[in-house]
């Protein structure tokens, strides 16, 4: 019996697990102020800050990172299990659970970053771009008459692009499911076909 496999799901599920592993070390988004004086490494599974050589993390963000990590790992595993048995009775549940996870993570991550930059702008008064470089002029009351300009460089890392690919593959797996599942049904039904014996005249 030929077994149908959702190869988009296999690739997507495996890539989601790779993304989780990579994101522990390579940030999705990074902010650098000055020459590494202040650095923020942000990804949904690992967020850390570095201020003049001292590294620290924020407990609330750490909790969110753990949440994202569990959801992405479970989503990746669910996608892999679904992909090898796309016509199993539980396949639909696994697919529904897993295919949206990377996409939602990307959307929430970008929305969170955008919100964070707006909050910084409203509190401190200067704008941090999501991508690119800018020079931030510190408020005069902070610098006692001296003009202090801090260069800030931000950007998305290749791990973020990898996640976009993983999200795309998972959605492709969902779309491809319609083709894989009926094919499996036909394959299963084949032994049920009854052939009539040759008629002798």
């Amino acid at each position: 019996m030929k077994t149908a496999v959702n190869w988009f799901g296999v690739a997507g599920g495996a890539l989601v697990l790779v993304v989780v592993a990579v994101s522990l070390f390579v940030p999705w988004w990074q902010l650098v102020a000055g020459e590494d004086l202040v650095k923020a490494n942000v990804s949904p599974v690992n967020t850390s800050f570095n201020f003049t050589g001292s590294s620290f993390t924020v407990p609330l963000l750490f909790a969110l990172n753990i949440t994202s990590m569990i959801l992405m790992i479970s989503g990746g595993i669910a996608m892999l299990i679904y992909s090898v048995k796309p016509s199993a009775s539980y396949a639909g549940k696994l697919l529904g659970f897993s295919y949206k996870k990377p996409l939602f993570t990307v959307i929430l991550f970008v929305a969170g970053l955008f919100a964070a930059t707006l909050i910084v702008k409203s509190i401190v008064g200067f704008e941090i771009p999501l991508m690119g470089a800018t020079n931030v002029l510190l408020p005069a009351e902070m610098t006692q008459g001296t003009t202090v300009t801090v260069p800030i460089v931000t950007g998305f890392g290749w791990s973020f692009l990898l996640t976009l690919v993983a999200a795309g593959l998972c959605i492709a797996a969902r779309l491809f499911h319609k083709k894989v599942a009926p094919m499996q049904e036909i394959t299963v039904r084949q032994p049920m076909v009854v052939t009539t014996p040759p008629v002798s005249r």
Binding site: A33, G34, E35, L37, F49, F51, T52, G53, S54, F56, T57, V58, P59, L60, F62, A63, L64, I66, T67, I70, L71, S74, A78, S89, Y90, K93, L94, F97, N135, G145, T146, T147, V148, T149, V150, P151
Partner: protein, 176 residues
Amino acid sequence: MQTVGLVLILINILAIAGPAAAVAAVYYNDPVEMIIPSKVEEAITSAIQTDENIEMPQYIGSTYDTTSRTVTATFSFKNPFEFDLTVNTVSADVECVTHSFSLGHAQLSNPVTIDAGTTATITVVFAWTQTAENHFLAEHSNEENSSINLVNLGLDVSGIEVETPEKISLTVPLTQ
């Protein structure tokens, strides 16, 4: 099939509620610590709030070379912070104190890295112009020393650009 559905729902609930509940339990007595950990305050305090404020470079002395028309001035620059600094550039316009006459431009010869809490010597080279030489010959010919100001002082320290309205006054010896 229902079991799989339940397990998946359970994973969602535990993944969302578990870590948040754990952090809330750990920081139950001090909820602010969940967002602004004390380590952040410590890092900022230790890095920025030093007993001494950052000071402008202090003039040590100067040498001059008449053939290349340059004055090489040395300054001491203290890094009061608990992290290393790199002085990438120092630039200033040089003017005669008495006549506010522009004499030329001074800049750092080479970038200098200053370790945390230490003082380093930085070398600034001032190339004077022919106009500056003519000014000295016309206005300061009988003087042994001349007072000059470094104005429009700009520094690039570890990527952070600082422009200060402060002046640095120097007295440099004059040669005939």
